[in-house]
């Protein structure tokens, strides 16, 4: 099949699937509901098959680093290969025996989950430095942001109410009357943008995600 037909086929399939899903959201048509359910199952199957692609991508990339002895990386790539093989093997053993292997569970719970939690906790430091940058009163706008930020911080920190009972009231106002309308405006405009994007995709006009954007 030529490249052009292949590409057109992608947009035709995407358009049909989107139209069916949209119709079944609004209308109760038993025949189409069945089709929509099938589409969802297919989407899940495609997603699961893509995990295989992801694994191939990982192995390919790390194998190249090992092969080329990429400075500062190849040792980690080799370590990845070892762990990947162990987890794959234990996963397959678990699949064969019908129950998750104890070592597999241990690595997942005590290594992966712990490291993920640690990384998440470190985010606090990144927020501190981002807040420091945002809260520098370089102009009127930044000064207003700083004042608002101080009130909200002292609202959330228990010491704020101890210093002055007005902090939680003013901070609460910033949180509700100040923030919510702005965030809802963003949500509405985002939804409109999504609607327009969906419509363009439905008509096959949005082709950027197939490498056809811009000259």
């Amino acid at each position: 099949m030529s490249e052009v037909y292949k590409r057109e086929l992608v947009f035709i399939v995407a358009g049909i699937v989107a139209a069916v899903m949209m119709v079944t959201y609004f209308f109760d048509i038993p025949v189409l509901n069945g089709v929509a359910q099938q589409f969802q199952v297919w989407a899940l199957i495609i997603q699961l098959m893509a995990i295989g692609l992801g694994a191939i991508n990982l192995v390919r990339l790390n194998y190249r680093h090992i092969q080329r002895k990429s400075e500062g990386i190849w040792v980690f790539s080799a370590w990845f290969m070892v762990l990947f093989s162990i987890m794959l093997l234990l996963g397959l053993v678990g699949l064969a025996t019908g129950s998750e292997h104890a070592i597999y569970s241990w690595i997942f719970t005590h290594v992966y989950t712990s490291l993920s939690s640690t990384l998440y906790a470190i985010t606090g430091f990144y927020i501190f430095s981002a807040a420091y940058r945002a809260f520098r009163a370089r102009n009127i706008d930044a000064a207003i942001l700083l004042i608002g930020g101080v009130f909200v911080m002292l609202t959330n920190a228990p010491v704020g109410a101890v210093i002055w009972k007005g902090f939680p009231i003013i901070g609460g106002w910033f949180n509700i009357a100040g923030q919510v309308p702005a965030m809802r405006t963003f949500t509405i405009t985002g939804a409109l943008g999504l609607l327009a994007y969906g419509f363009r995709t439905l008509l096959g006009k949005e082709r950027g995600f197939y490498g056809e954007a811009g000259q």
């Binding site: 991508n57 990982l58 985010t123 006009k205 995600f209 954007a213």
Partner: protein, 262 residues
């Protein structure tokens, strides 16, 4: 038996009105009516980001965020697609300027799309050999994706970071890491909870619908730009509805709420 599902009639009506407006303005633009769209500073800065990388001889880091790890997510999937749309444009610029671009993602089902987008972009630039699948880095899940990205930034010191898509807490981490290495940063998301972090850490930010509109602006297709005009008209309709709802609310009248729930 009602064929329209209860509670979705007005939503359907609004959808039909929206689509009719988009279509009308797309047709108008097609027939020659001038539709002008303001230039997004973030989009205008993309050539500068690529040029900077070319001058410094450094690569570009590109990511579309966590996006809940799948294209199937109704709120995150379209953001990932919008990010991939812009990726095509960036890759073409990189190909022209001989700049390496490394794409990082934890979204496994986006991999074939990304590969095809990058391959097509290089092909369209007459540089098919420029495409190297090894520049697409997949990490399964948020933490590995984040650590791989941080490691990459420290090792390779990319000249520019482009982060467009559905972000979660990785936004502030990547943004700050990019700041630390002095990279020029262009970002965008339609996730309201991450916008403050992106605005604080990046040089240019695409906010909410700008992320979806950016690819239309890049395409420069008047036909596509017409949909943006339709979007603006819809904003006025929604503003009017909010105004009417506000006045009715003061009068303790729930007619509009009941109508919208139909």
């Amino acid at each position: 038996m009602a064929i329209i599902i209860e509670g979705r009639m007005i939503a359907l009506l609004l959808l039909v009105i929206s689509f009719a407006l988009f279509y009308f303005y797309m047709q108008q633009a097609k027939s020659g009516a001038k539709i002008s769209a303001r230039t997004f500073p973030a989009v205008a800065a993309i050539p500068e980001a690529v040029g900077r990388a070319a001058e410094m001889g450094k690569p570009i880091y590109y990511t579309t965020g966590l996006g809940m790890g799948t294209l199937n997510n109704p709120s995150q999937g379209p953001q990932t697609l919008a990010g991939i749309s812009i990726l095509g444009h960036v890759v073409r610029l990189c190909s022209r300027n001989g700049v390496r671009i490394d794409y990082f993602t934890p979204i496994v089902d986006s991999l074939p799309l990304v590969e095809e987008t990058m391959r097509t972009a290089y092909l369209m630039e007459g540089n098919p050999e420029g495409f190297d699948p090894h520049h697409i880095h997949f990490q399964n899940d948020q933490s590995p994706y984040l650590t791989a990205s941080l490691g990459y930034m420290q090792r390779e010191r990319p000249a520019s970071n482009i982060m467009l898509g559905g972000f979660y807490y990785e936004s502030v981490v990547l943004g700050e890491a990019g700041n630390t290495i002095g990279a020029m940063q262009i970002c965008g998301s339609a996730n309201t909870h991450q916008l403050p972090f992106l605005v604080a850490t990046c040089d240019y930010t695409l906010i909410m619908e700008e992320l979806y509109a950016a690819s239309a602006e890049i395409a420069g297709d008047p036909d596509v730009l017409g949909s943006l005009r339709g979007e603006d008209i819809l904003k006025f309709i929604i503003l009017a509805l909010i105004g009417v709802g506000f006045l009715l609310g003061i009068a303790n009248n729930t007619t509009l709420i009941n109508l919208l729930r139909m």
